[in-house]
Amino acid sequence: MTTKKKNTAFLIVQDNEDARPIIEAVEQDNPGVNIQYEPGMVRMERAASLIVKRETVEVLKGCEWDVQELHLVLISLAGNVDEDDEKFELSWG
């Protein structure tokens, strides 16, 4: 069992209205997430993994949301991608 520092997974999105519910959903669903606002963009980072859940985004948005709509505001990411209809997850093994 290793005790060394876990690598950082991150998701960067545009700082706009479409992205706001996604950012809030990440905040709710990822304990310890660090959210940084930089000019034009928002960087969300967390040790080992980071998840965006469809259900949370839909509640915050108040309408249906397809996980692939993330592409509309996505800027960059780090981690292995696991995506399906319910979630978009980044993780380092």
Binding site: P39, L72, S76, L77, N80, D85
Partner: protein
């Protein structure tokens, strides 16, 4: 009642599998002649999977949506005379270097992926490459559309593709693109999708575009981030193809490691231009090159290679040198542009006093000690009216084609780094061990390099004098030189109601 919508996994499977076939009256190897000679062994193409599971119908839908958003912003930027709200017109030097250096590389990448979209044997990989080919074309187009607005008001933006094929510093990105394009398909995708896009492209599209926002250039920010959303998909594709190749056969590992070593170094050298954009051309800089390098390469790249360690893959060779150079790179590149500023298609300028203080703060180990003196010297010469540009041509590296400006940063940062070798009786010179290794692995390729300085001396560039060569580049006399002597600067002053030209080095 409408049929139940299929889930993402199922849709992806249906739309990327079973659309190819085993050929009967032609041999498969004749139909797909390029995907074996590099020695990469693929036993089951169906193991290829796009983690985003993006299908063509979803691709069109989302790309159309992105375009609508982008063009709405481009229109409003133009209608509101956004060009007058920039931090300073000297910022445009970065955009001039971007459209001449980066946009033609996007177009070259489009060619490469179109080729792969035809020639990979597996349908899933072909579909992903076809999408990327369209993405790359879209990037070139949206960059041209966005920047064409600036072309109405500023110099140096009129002929990026023509210049990409000729200009001394543009041969750096051009030769990198051609190096990848002239390789086989697996090396090409390792180069562009993995070494460039996964490992390094964040350095261009994230902090630099955030910097564009910081300097009031919403149009560039938007095409940059819009392109980068495609890049996220490309990065994921890049990582996927590496894992796919490594899982297919153990013999693939040494080949892939060699390509990663090579193309990491090639792509990193191209980004030397970006380091100068980040630290010097952005008027206001939210993040230094060194800070960006630490986050996006040291930390993020480190995590990536740690993850890939389970396949036996190692960090790219010479990555420690790239990290050691992070405190020197932008200063060395901007110095050469300032010294040769009569031969650039954008304006150069010594950093303002405020900027120099920012550089001292961000580069406490290097800026004051090694770099501030040369900028202060030139600044004083300009004030005294004794400044002249260096009227000669520099030695170029045979591989990266950058003038040999890099120094021995680990042992003596004021000593130029000279490396050389002989091949079939001729001398060849390199800026670094990284470039020398690349040459020695494939000398037959790099002895063909079209080095701009050597081409001028061979009489292939319009004439023997600098004005003749610049004319052949289609540089107009007002394109280069010092920003404070430029048409761009005078126009900027007029827009902002300033009759008296400001003093060299002043802030807006």
């Amino acid at each position: 009642m409408a049929a139940k919508k299929l889930n993402m996994r199922k849709r992806y499977e249906l739309l990327t599998r079973g659309i190819g076939w085993e050929t009967s009256y032609q041999k498969m190897d004749d139909v797909f002649p390029y995907d074996t000679f590099e020695g990469i062994k693929i036993t089951d193409w169906d193991k290829w999977e796009d983690p985003f599971r993006l299908t063509m119908d979803a691709y069109w839908k989302f790309q159309a949506e992105k375009e609508k958003k982008l063009y709405a912003i481009i229109d409003s930027f133009a209608q509101n005379n956004g060009q007058t709200n920039l931090a300073d017109a000297s910022y445009l030097s970065a955009i001039k270097l971007f459209i001449t250096g980066v946009t033609p590389l996007e177009y070259a990448a489009h060619h490469g992926f179109a080729h792969l979209g035809r020639h990979f044997r597996g349908e899933g990989a072909r579909v992903a490459c076809q999408m990327q080919a369209i993405d790359e074309l879209r990037h070139a187009q949206t960059q041209i559309h966005t920047i064409s607005h600036y072309n109405k008001h500023f110099t140096g933006l009129h002929d990026p593709f023509y210049q990409s094929d000729r200009v001394w510093y543009l041969s750096v990105p051009k030769s990198f693109g051609e190096d990848a394009l002239s390789a086989g398909p697996f090396e090409f995708i390792t180069s562009i999708s993995f070494a460039f896009e996964y490992v390094l492209t964040n350095l261009l599209f994230v902090p630099f575009m955030s910097g564009a926002a910081y300097n009031g250039d919403m149009a560039t920010t938007t095409f940059g981030f819009s392109a980068q959303s495609d890049e996220s998909r490309h990065m994921t594709l890049g990582l996927e193809i590496i894992k796919f190749m490594l899982e297919q056969h153990e013999d693939n590992l040494p080949i892939i490691q060699g390509w990663i070593d090579k193309h990491f170094w090639r792509a990193y050298r191209v980004l030397a231009l970006v380091s100068a954009m980040q630290d010097y051309m952005l008027t206001n800089t939210p993040m230094s090159w060194k800070e960006a390098w630490d986050i996006y390469f040291v930390e993020n790249g480190g995590a990536l290679f740690e993850d890939l360690g389970r396949y036996g893959l190692k960090m790219p060779k010479h990555h420690e040198l790239a990290t050691a150079e992070a405190e020197h790179l932008s200063h060395q590149v901007w110095s050469v542009f300032c010294a040769l500023g009569n031969a650039t298609g954008f304006h150069t300028f010594e950093p303002s006093d405020e900027k120099m203080d920012w550089l001292s703060e961000k580069y406490p180990n290097t800026f004051d000690k090694y770099y501030r003196p040369r900028f202060e010297h030139w600044k004083k010469q300009k004030e005294d009216g004794t400044f002249e540009y260096l009227a000669s041509l520099p030695q170029l590296c045979q591989v990266c084609q950058i003038p040999m400006i890099f120094t021995e940063v680990k042992t003596d940062p004021m000593q130029l780094s000279f490396r050389n070798t002989k091949f079939k009786g001729d001398n060849y010179h390199f800026c670094s061990d990284g470039c020398k290794d690349i040459f020695e692995n494939e000398p037959e390729k790099y002895v063909q390099a079209w080095l701009p300085v050597h081409q001028i001396f061979q009489g292939n560039c319009g004439g023997a004098t600098i004005p003749e060569v610049l004319k052949w580049y289609k540089f107009e006399p007002e394109d280069g030189g010092d920003y404070f002597d430029s048409q761009d600067f005078r126009r900027w002053q007029e827009w902002h109601g300033k009759d008296e030209p400001a003093k060299t080095g002043s802030d807006n």
